[in-house]
C-alpha cells in the first residue's frame, strides 16, 4: 500500500465492509481484525480494550495464522508513559523494534468536540525485524480510527437495545402486580423477573415490620430462579453497626463495601418518604459488575415495587380494620378518601401523573327494580371481582356508594387510565348473571366511565372527583356503555360553543 489513492480506496472498502449488519461488539472487532489483516502485513494483530479504572489495556482478540484467538495479556499503563500517551490521544503511534517489530495505534472515538479512549491495536512482526514503515504506520492509524468509530457506534446501539429489552421486561413485571393478589406470590414473580431480565446472580427482599423496629427477610431468588425464604433473618433498625440498617437510614455504607459495590446494589424501598424495605441485587458469585444503566432502571422500578408492596400490606391492614366493603371486596369510601389524599400529597412533590376513574353501572336501578336486589348485589359482586383482577397492583379502587365505583390510578395520565378502563369495560361486558325469569335467561352488564387527571383537570380531591363525575355524565348523555375523559367532554362543549358563536 503505497499510493494515497490506494490507501483511500482500501480505507473505503474497509469502511463499507465493516458497516454490514453486525450483531455485537465481539463480532465487529473480530470482523474488523480480519479485514485489517488483509490490508496490513503483520503476523499478529491484537485488539486491546481500555479498562480505565484499572488503568490497563486488556487483550480482547488476537488474529494469528488465520485464527481469531482469545489470549491472556494485560498492559499496565503508567501515567505519562508512551502507551498512556497513545491511548489518551497525546501520541499518534508507538513503535518498537525489539524484541521484534511492534506497532501500537490508538482506538479513539471522536465526534464534534467529544472524544473517548477505547483501547489500542497492536501489530507485530514476530519472525522478522522489518519495522513498520511510515506509510504502513499511517495506514494502520487510519484503519484503527475507522474501527474505533464503528466500535463506539456498536456499543451505543447495543446499550440502547439492552435498555429497550430491560424496559420491556419491566413492563412485563409491572403486569405481574396486576395478576397476583397475594403479596408473596407477587414478590416471588417480581424477584424472579428481576434476576432473569437483568441477568443477575441473586435478588433479595427485606421489609420493615409494621412497628418499624425491624427489617425482616422475605425472599431470595438465585440465578436459577430458585426461591428461598429469608424469614429467619431479622435486623434491628436501631443497630447502626448493621449495613442494612445504615443504608436504610441513609448513612454512608461501611468502608468494607467499597471493593464490591459494583457487584451489589442496595435499593431502599420508600413510599411517601417512609422506608418500607430493602431490595438487594447482586452478582457476587459471577463477580460481574452490575451495569450502570441497569442501576437506574432498577432504582426506578423499586419505586413501583414499594408502592405495590405498600398497597398489598395496606390491603391486609384494611381487611383487618373492616375497611372493605363486604359485598364487592373493594375498599370503602372513607378509606379511599384517605388514600386519595396521600396520593395527592405524593404527586404534588413529584412530576408523576395521577388519574381517577368513576364507574357507574348502566341501568342498575332497572336491574334492581326488574330482577330484585339479590341480582343487583350479584352484579356488584361480579364487578368487584373483575376490578380486583384487572387492575394493576398500584391502582386503588373503592365502592363510593350505591353502584358507583372510584378508582385511583397512580403513575397514569388520562389516556393511560382510559386504556386500563377499556380493558376493564371489556371484562364488565363479559359478565353474565343467570336469571331464569329474564327473557334472555341472563342479565348482561355495561358501565359508563368518566376519567379526570391531575393536575390538568383539577388539583384537589373533591374537584377531581367532580370532573370525573362530569365526564361520566357526558358518557351517559351519549348513550352509556363507554369511556370519556374530562377533556373529551370539554372539547365537545367548546365545539358546541364555537358552533353557536358561528
Amino acid at each position: 500500500m503505497s499510493s494515497t489513492a490506494g490507501i483511500r480506496e482500501s480505507l473505503y472498502g474497509f469502511h463499507k465492509e465493516l458497516n454490514h449488519h453486525i450483531s455485537g461488539e465481539d463480532e465487529m472487532l473480530s470482523r474488523g481484525l480480519r479485514l485489517i489483516a488483509d490490508r496490513v502485513k503483520a503476523e499478529r494483530i491484537s485488539v486491546f480494550m481500555l479498562a480505565p479504572r484499572r488503568r490497563e489495556l486488556t487483550l480482547k482478540f488476537t488474529f494469528h495464522a488465520g485464527l481469531m484467538l482469545e489470549m491472556v495479556e494485560e498492559i499496565h499503563l503508567t501515567e505519562g508513559g508512551p502507551l498512556w500517551k497513545l491511548v489518551h490521544g497525546r501520541k499518534r503511534m508507538q513503535s518498537y523494534s525489539s524484541p521484534h517489530a511492534v506497532l501500537y495505534v490508538p482506538l479513539r472515538w471522536s465526534s464534534g468536540g467529544d472524544e473517548a479512549a477505547l483501547g489500542a491495536l497492536r501489530f507485530e512482526r514476530v519472525s522478522s525485524r522489518k519495522t513498520f514503515g511510515a506509510v504502513e504506520r499511517e495506514f494502520a492509524f487510519l484503519l484503527a480510527a475507522e474501527l474505533a468509530q464503528n466500535l463506539y457506534r456498536t456499543r451505543v446501539a447495543q446499550a440502547l437495545q439492552r435498555q429497550l429489552k430491560r424496559l420491556e421486561a419491566l413492563t412485563d413485571l409491572a403486569a405481574v402486580f396486576a395478576s397476583s393478589l397475594r403479596v408473596e406470590d407477587g414478590l416471588k414473580l417480581i424477584l424472579q423477573g428481576i434476576v432473569q431480565h437483568f441477568e443477575l446472580d441473586r435478588a433479595r427482599l427485606y421489609l420493615v415490620d409494621r412497628e418499624k423496629e425491624f427489617l425482616r427477610g422475605e425472599l431470595s431468588v438465585d440465578v436459577r430462579g430458585k426461591v428461598r425464604t429469608l424469614r429467619e433473618e431479622t435486623v434491628s433498625l436501631e443497630d447502626s453497626s448493621h449495613r442494612f440498617a445504615r443504608i436504610l437510614k441513609g448513612d454512608s455504607p461501611d468502608s468494607m463495601m467499597k471493593h464490591y459495590e459494583e457487584r451489589v446494589l442496595h435499593v431502599p424501598l420508600a413510599v411517601q418518604g417512609q422506608k418500607i424495605g430493602l431490595l438487594i441485587v447482586d452478582n457476587l458469585i459471577s463477580q460481574e459488575t452490575v451495569a450502570g444503566e441497569d442501576i437506574g432502571l432498577l432504582r426506578s422500578f423499586a419505586g413501583q415495587i414499594a408502592l405495590a408492596v405498600d398497597n398489598a400490606r395496606l390491603f391486609e391492614e384494611v381487611q383487618a380494620l373492616s375497611l372493605y366493603d363486604s359485598l364487592t371486596g373493594l375498599p370503602v369510601r372513607r378509606y379511599f378518601n384517605q388514600r386519595f389524599q396521600e396520593e395527592l400529597y405524593r404527586v404534588e412533590r413529584s412530576t408523576e401523573p395521577l388519574s381517577i376513574a368513576m364507574i357507574d353501572v348502566d341501568f342498575f336501578k332497572s336491574i334492581n327494580d326488574s330482577y330484585g336486589h339479590q341480582i343487583g348485589d350479584q352484579a356488584l359482586k361480579k364487578i368487584g371481582v373483575v376490578i380486583n383482577k384487572r387492575l394493576r397492583k398500584i391502582d386503588f379502587p373503592a365502592r363510593f356508594g350505591g353502584d358507583e365505583i372510584l378508582i385511583l390510578l397512580p403513575q397514569s395520565k388520562a389516556e393511560d387510565a382510559a386504556k386500563i378502563m377499556e380493558r376493564l369495560l371489556g371484562d364488565i361486558r363479559d359478565i353474565r348473571i343467570p336469571v331464569s325469569f329474564a327473557r334472555a335467561g341472563e342479565v348482561r352488564l355495561t358501565a359508563s366511565i368518566g376519567i379526570a387527571a391531575y393536575p390538568e383537570d383539577a388539583r384537589s380531591a373533591d374537584d377531581l372527583i367532580a370532573r370525573a363525575d362530569e365526564a361520566l355524565y357526558w358518557v351517559k348523555s351519549k348513550g352509556r356503555d363507554g369511556i370519556a375523559t374530562f377533556q373529551d367532554s370539554v372539547r365537545e362543549r367548546s365545539g358546541l360553543r364555537r358552533k353557536e358563536a358561528a
Binding site: R55, H64, L69, V72, P99, V223, I285, Q287
Partner: protein, 414 residues
Amino acid sequence: MRELQLWVLPNNGYDTVPTMREHLAPFRREHPGLGLGIWVRTEESMWRHLFRLLKNPRQKPRPDLVQIPSHWTGTFARLGLLQELGALDPALDLSRWPAALRDHCRAGEGGNVYSLPWWIGVRVLYYRKDALRRAGVDPVSDLGDWEGLRGACRRLAAKWKSSTGRTHPVANPNPRESISLRDVAPCVWGRGGDFFASDGSRSLLQREASFRGVVDYFDLVRNGWMPLKGPSGLAPRDLFDGSAAMQISGRLPRGLPGRAVARRAAERAREELGAVPYPNAGGRTLLTSQNLAIPADSQLPRESFALLRELAFGVSGASYAAAIGALPSTERGTDEALQGYPALERAFRNSLDRARMLPSIGSFGTLEKVFDRTMDRLVQEVVGGRCDERSMREELIHAGAEIDYILSLSGDGA
C-alpha cells in the same frame, strides 16, 4: 453434519488450536460424521461465558465440552450447569486418578462426578545452570527456602546482568502479567498460613502467616527481580526462551520443534535446565488440574463424553499433554511422562509428594476471583511505586471481609 463445540483455555498459546486439531485427528477419524468446533477462551472469558449460559438460556453458541480449572467444578455443578457424568457412564471409575484429583471431580452431597481431569501441573522452581553458575549460586544448597531464593536473586541481579546483558533473575509465570492466588499459594502455605478455614466457613487472609506469604511473593516484584512487563508492552521473555535465570512453573519443557536448527538450539537450552522443589519450608507446592466437563444442556452428550474420555485417559490426551508440556492427569500417565525428563524427574516427583490442591469448596471459583482482584490492585500499586506492607495488609483485610460476606451468603462453606 453435527458439530461438537469444544471450549478450551489457551493451553498452548498461539498454537492452541493447531495443537488440538493435530492431537484430535484420531478421534475425528473414528467419528467421521461429527464436526468439531474449537473455541479458545481465556479463563476470564470462560468464566463469564459459562455464567452467560446460565443466565440466558438462549445464549449462542453453546458448548458441548468445556475445559475448566478443577476447582470450578463445585461452583458450576452447584449452579446446575454441568452434566452428571455418572448418568452417561454408570461404570465410571475414578481409580486411575490420585485421590486429590478425584475430590475435585465431585460435587454435592451425593458426591456425583461432574468433571474429569485432563492434565495437571505441579509447581517447581526451574533454573538455568549456566546463569546460576555465573552468579555463584548452588541450586541444591541455596534454593532450599525462600530466603535462599532471595539471596540468589540478589546475586543474579548484580552479576548476571553485567556479564550477559540479560536483565531478570526470575520470570513471571503468570500469563496475565499479574500475580494470582495460584502464584502465591505455596508461599502462603510455606509460611504456615492459608486462605480459608478447613471447614471453608471463613477467610484466613487476615492472619499474619498468610500475609507474610503474600509479602514473600510480592518481594520478587517489588525488588525488581521479577518484572511484569517489558517497555514495549510485551511480556519479558522467560526462562524457556533463555532470557531469565529462574522461573516457577508447573509445566515441563514443551515438545522439541521439528526444524533442525531450532531443535538443536532447544536441545542445548534444555540441557541447561534444572529444577528444584518449590523453595519454601517443607517444599509445599501447588498441584493444579485442568478438567473437562459437559454442560447439562449439551445436544451431543454421548459424543462429548466419548471425546472427554479420549482426552482424559486416552492416547490423544497423553500425547496432547506432552505437546503442551503438561503432565497427563492419570497416575500412570504422569509416571510415564516424567521418565522422559531424567534431569527434572526428581524435583517433580518430590513436589508431587508434597503438593496440595486448592480447596474443593463450592464457591472457590468466586473466592479466587475476589483474591485475584486484590492481587491486581496490589500489582498496580507496585507498578506505580506506591505499594508498602501497610497497603498490602489493608487490601488483604478488605478481601477477607468480602470473602467472608460471600461465604455467609452462599451458606455452603464445605
